[in-house]
């Protein structure tokens, strides 16, 4: 199964990267944008007997390594191949 993991700065946490990109976009004339947040997108393949077990494993992977719980949130999608 294939998992897509989205890691984003937690709500309320300062995101200097998002702020810099937002500033640059505005200076390029994209005035209508706002609230830019920059995170990471990770894909991985996982062997699991069921979707539920794959999801539980991916959740652990995110909690243990992919996301820093102090400053980041994550969500993920699991698709059968």
């Amino acid at each position: 199964m294939r998992a897509k993991v989205f890691v984003t700065p937690r709500k309320g946490i300062l995101d200097p990267q998002g702020r810099a990109v937002e500033g640059a976009l505005k200076s390029l004339g994209f005035g209508a944008i706002g609230n830019v947040r920059v995170g990471r997108f990770i894909t991985l393949e996982i062997d699991a007997p069921s979707r539920a077990e794959a999801e539980s494993a991916v959740r652990q992977i995110c909690e243990r390594l992919l996301a820093n719980p102090n400053i980041e949130d994550f969500r993920f999608e699991v698709d059968a191949e």
Binding site: L14, A20, G23, I71
Partner: protein, 742 residues
């Protein structure tokens, strides 16, 4: 009687709420007495941070007052954001060291990064351009499961912030000891240079002067972070109670540095301070307090990162990269233009008043109205009981009945021990060159900086010796000051002033308070003996995990001055045939040594330290440098003389070695690996020996061998090894234990 109204829906304020804020019953009663009423919830939050140990120094202030703070060279002593000394030609050096221990344990990368950011702001708020940083880092045992993660995070954070903000990291220290397994130390130092006339103050003046807010918007970052976390012990629950972590933004910091220094040049700033611990509350009340004035803040005007922050949150937020400025009336626009140039916005959020009140307004009402003095001068002070532990202090590790190792094997093990081996994998991750002042960067005895447009220069070093402090907190503190000062003198600079970070456990325990009091006494006695006033610093208490305190750790940074920086001395040998000379104040011992720790042998008690002889050693090193008598000088520290000799061979570009005559009993551990006493290995042409002896008299000055053209290190009859082989052991030890970085 003042008026401040509770906001609808605010939590009830009573003794229980006060206790939950870390205040005692007596403190809560004092607050009610001061206000003549029950505080609002916002006021309770404000008192709790301002009366916290971190902000009020309530347990330490009485003892800190005993430190020598005066000196002919002192321009600004303790009380401002950082101290300053005159370094000649109209330049002043502004510096300070500060702890960021608890945040770095919780979130190592951001904790260390924001530690660097905070100390930089303390420097440029004084009107000085930061030109160098150092860090003292203490981790748990190198094989502790969390150590690798913490090292990578902390080192990454220091580099990530320091490199991006353009201030070189030029020196530091890293130590591994099981005493820090549950409570690491991250102490960050920064130094800036200013023209004397450009120095700024954080003393508010001018009733009616507007108060400007500059920098990042305010979020819920670190509310009660530094103030509460640094004032209460860790336990399993603190992981869950974690406040929103502060995230550092070095890019904004860089803009703030440039914009603030440019704004200062306009002359339109009356007072300036960064928003550090307890953010807007501490910066505004401290500035008003120093000036004996009042301040009124309109919280609706504070730039917010997210909507619906309560006044409590706005006042206590510890969002990073924010500055508070008192502007000269009518010159706000001039300042705003400077900040706009740097894409920063200055917003007027209040004004200085003459009524001595600290007042905050929010949505039309007053949410806090407190006498300024109650938040600064009238904060509680404690004279906590101090008593030595009932039993005699024991060594950090119990001495097992292990036979001493064979000396050549001991040498190889020491060279590769985590506390001796090369720190290159750490300092290679720091930009040590930016700003073009670094004459000698990390890896030497002390960093050497030149002052552009002048012959003058500075030397900096930070040291600590928790093992010695655990054996004897008084002598340990003296030994620490001696070592830092000696490192500075080894490069040829005259030690000029001290800043310190005093890291201890819970001061409510008499034995910890005793460690602290003895440490301050040792610091004071040595600072007086060396004529190096203590011009700034910070106290970090409650460094405990589940009732276990860290070893007492006063971290001492010494800044030295050169009249002519070109006379600086390197630590490595430079010419074959030079005499290798040992200069020392007393015989070495294994007490608190790396040898005793590594091989678990009894090291014994610390010997008394004769500060007059220590001063002789420092003065002698400086005089030798000024008279160009030495070709190298290297302090003997962890691993003793044998390791110091190896280190003096490693960094010689010419690939030199040394041949050392047998000393005392050949291979004797005390003689070769002993520490404790102040010893320096120098090299010099043989014809200089008499002059060197005269300068150091009555200290022991003993030629022990020669610098050799062949890159081998020969120690008496017991050790003969290729320098390259030894160096490999030295260089590869830490990457081998912590993970490779190339």
């Amino acid at each position: 009687m003042s008026a401040a109204a509770a906001l609808p829906g605010e939590p009830k304020v009573d003794l229980a709420a006060a206790r939950a804020h870390g205040l005692t019953g007596a403190e809560f009663a004092a607050i009610e007495r001061i206000l003549g009423r029950v505080p609002t919830f916002t006021e309770l939050g404000v008192f709790s941070v301002m009366w916290s140990e971190h902000c009020s120094y309530k347990s330490s202030r009485k003892h800190l007052k005993t430190l020598p703070r005066e000196g002919a060279n002192v321009v600004v002593g303790p009380g401002e954001n950082a101290g300053a000394i005159d370094v000649g030609d109209g330049w002043v050096a502004v510096f300070k060291i500060e702890s960021h221990n608890h945040p770095s344990y919780v979130e190592p990368y951001q904790g260390a990064a924001t530690g660097v950011g905070g100390i930089l702001r303390d420097i440029f708020t004084m009107g000085a351009r930061p030109i160098a940083s150092m860090d003292s880092l203490k981790f748990g045992a190198i094989d502790h499961p969390r150590t690798r993660y913490l090292v990578n995070g902390v080192v990454g954070g220091i580099g990530g912030y320091g490199n991006c903000v353009g201030v070189p990291t030029v020196a530091g220290e890293v130590m591994f000891d099981p005493g820090y397994n549950g409570n690491i130390l991250v102490n960050a130092f920064s130094l800036g240079l200013a023209r004397r006339e450009d120095l700024q103050s954080a003393r508010a003046r001018g009733v009616g002067n507007p108060v400007l807010y500059v920098g990042s918007a305010t979020g819920r970052d670190g509310i009660h972070g530094a103030s509460l976390l640094a004032s209460a012990e860790f336990d399993a629950e603190s992981e869950a109670k974690r406040p929103t972590v502060q995230v550092g933004d070095p890019f904004t910091e860089k803009l703030l540095i440039e914009a603030c220094l440019e704004a200062i040049k306009t002359g339109a700033i009356a007072a300036i301070q960064d928003m550090g611990a307890a953010g807007l509350t501490s910066s505004s009340s401290e500035m008003a307090g120093r000036g004996g004035l009042g301040v009124e803040l309109d919280l609706d005007r504070v730039p917010l990162r997210e909507p619906n922050l309560s006044p409590y949150e706005i006042l206590l937020s510890e969002s990073q990269e924010r500055m508070l400025i008192v502007a000269e009336h009518g010159r706000e626009a001039e300042l705003a233009a400077v900040f706009e140039k740097w894409d920063l916005h200055a917003v007027v959020i209040g004004a200085i008043t003459g009524d001595g009140r600290w007042r905050a307004r929010f949505r039309g009402g007053v949410v806090a109205d407190i006498p300024v003095a109650a938040l600064s001068d009238a904060a509680p002070l404690y004279d906590r009981p101090a008593a030595p532990p009932g039993r005699a202090p024991i060594e950090t590790r119990p001495a097992a009945a292990v036979a001493r190792p064979e000396p050549a094997a001991a040498m190889r093990a020491l060279i590769a021990s985590p506390n001796v081996a090369s720190r290159r994998m750490v300092f290679r991750q720091y930009d040590s060159l930016v700003l073009s002042n670094t004459v000698a960067g990390p890896g030497g005895d002390a960093a050497v900086l030149r002052i552009k447009g002048s012959r003058r220069g500075l030397a900096l070093k930070v040291d600590s010796n928790p093992r010695a402090c655990a054996l004897d907190p008084y002598l340990g503190a003296i030994a620490t000051v001696c070592e830092a000062a000696r490192n500075v003198a080894c490069v040829g600079a005259r030690p000029a002033a001290i800043t310190n970070c005093l890291n201890y456990g819970n001061p409510e325990r008499p034995e910890i308070m005793w460690q602290f009091v003895r440490g301050v006494a040792g610091l004071g006695d040595s600072a007086r003996a060396f004529n190096t006033p203590v011009i700034s610093g910070n106290v970090s208490f409650y460094n405990e995990t589940e009732g276990r305190a860290i070893p007492p750790t006063p971290t001492i940074a010494v800044v030295g001055t050169f009249a002519d920086v070109s006379l600086n001395i390197k630590h490595c040998f430079s010419l074959p045939g030079d005499l290798v000379v040992l200069v020392r104040t007393a015989p070495p011992s294994l007490a608190a040594s790396e040898y005793a720790d590594l091989f678990r042998v009894a090291g014994g008690a610390l010997a008394p330290i004769d500060l007059v002889r220590e001063r002789r050693l420092l003065d002698g090193l400086v005089e030798c440098a000024q008279r160009r008598l030495l070709r190298s000088a290297h302090d003997v520290s962890e691993g003793g003389m044998a390791v110091a000799l190896a280190e003096a061979c490693f960094d010689s570009d010419r690939g030199l070695g040394a041949e050392i005559e047998p000393v005392a009993t050949d291979g004797d551990a005390e003689a070769w690996f002993g520490e404790g006493a102040s010893s320096v290995i120098v090299s010099a042409p043989a014809e200089n020996l008499k002059a060197i002896r005269d300068i150091f008299a009555p200290l022991e000055v003993r030629p022990v061998g020669r610098v050799a053209a062949a890159a081998r290190l020969k120690l008496g009859r017991w050790f003969d090894e290729d320098v390259a082989t030894l160096r490999r052991l030295y260089e590869e030890a830490l990457p081998g234990r912590l993970g490779r970085h190339d």
